[in-house]
Amino acid sequence: MAIAIVGSGPAGFYMADAVSKSLPNVRVHLFERLSLPFGLVRYGVAPDHVGTKAVYRLFDRVMKRPNVSFFGNVEIGRDVSLGQLESTYKVVVIATGGTVGRLLQFVGTESFYHISGLDFAGWFNGKPDALVAPPPSKARSVCILGNGNVGLDAARLLTKSSVQLQEAGVPEPVVHWRSVLGLEAIHIFGRRGAAQTKFGVSELEELGRSQSFRPVVCPQEVLDGQGENIAALDVLRKFSQDVPDDRLPITFHFDTEILGGGDGCLKTNSPHSGLQSHEAGMLIHAIGQRASPLPGLPFDEGAGFIPNENGLIQGKENVYAIGWAAKAGGGQIASNRTHAQAILPRLAAHLSGSSTPANGFVNTPPPWLPFTAVTWEQACAMDPWRT
């Protein structure tokens, strides 16, 4: 008996881990749209956060189990239909993640080069389809929308020297792009106050240690001590008291409304600063993400996920969604593990009664597998992390 898991990011791998460990007689086939595995861990986690990326070693262990196989460069809707998956496997689990960064809509957006924080991280991580258009070759000022760690990741990556980026494994064309960008200022905008951010304390402090850029916070914006993230507010307060030096500014703007754009400038309004205009050679939207629809499955366009009940997809009997695709888990890498373990008993009920095939785990690929599919060994051989 066999199960198909679609997506080899944290949701897919934690699902494969749980199934292959507790049901050793079930064959697990893990499908990945791209050639290389690990999804968000490879392309979403910032390249310099190697400790967070190290969770891939755990996923490597999963691949060592005899009942698990990986097939990269296989896309649902392009190489195989959902119907084919359903008729080949006893259970199908959709673990395709939250792959689409949300873009803020406002009047005059055509005036800017837009990129989501997710795609920006993907680009610095060598994700093949991260850019939809060539990036601007020059940008004196970059504006980042959103007060979470994805925005801080983008800001921090922009502050790194060529050597630091190379050490983090950032592809050479990206390092070169940054080195000739001519960047003099970074702006970070939040719709809410300085006490209501989603910034992590360590991530803020990390930005404060930059050698070339300095966080700039206006003291009036950090007066209010009421809010849900006082720990981050304390760090922002420290920034507001720093003595200016010759480092370039990363300016934080809170309670800010984006009014529109024109002539490459972002028009903003806030209670503290009033009407302002900021040059934006690049506009990075770090305001959240959504899942992408899959042919043959329902999709909630408004909320951006696959509608499901405790994982079971609406209108299906044996197709489940987990992680970001199911809008479950809360967005942390580790919460996918919890979600996979919660769904495991439901999958086990479909898969009970499995016994080891007489010929052991030959793990025959599905008959419709395209010849362009990438095996685990091939993926490892072409993986820059392993060379």
Binding site: H49, V50, T52, E203, A334
Partner: protein
Amino acid sequence: MKVLLLVVTMTGTSEMIAEDIVEAYGAEHEFDLQLIENTEPAILSTNRNLIVISSTYGTGDVPDPGQPFFMALESSDLNLAHLNYGVIALGDDKIYHDTFANGGRQWDALLRRRQANSVTEPLLLDSAGSDDISELAVDWSAACLAALKSTIAA
């Protein structure tokens, strides 16, 4: 020798390390691998040898799954003078330098307060480092297991 392995993990890395220890020394010792969320402090009363493997969450906190056990043990009046232990503390020394491996260090401090006997210094493992942390843990465990064994003998 019977040894309790208490695993406190969010991502599963500590569990992977515990499984590696069992694989390496399972022939010599009888291990009881427990995820912290599935057990409670009373288990410490019936064991004499313990290795805690804990990651660190947020700014130096014990990971969420370990919080109920930690708080129950902290507020209990258990005397663990019969218990010998070692701690493997995981963390990220790059992003979270100031609170590096504090999750495991908190277990060490709490076990001390409950009169348990530390047989060796905690092993601090940096997930952002270049070493294979599982190999380091397996190497350290040989010495820790030897120390646990000699403490029983004494």
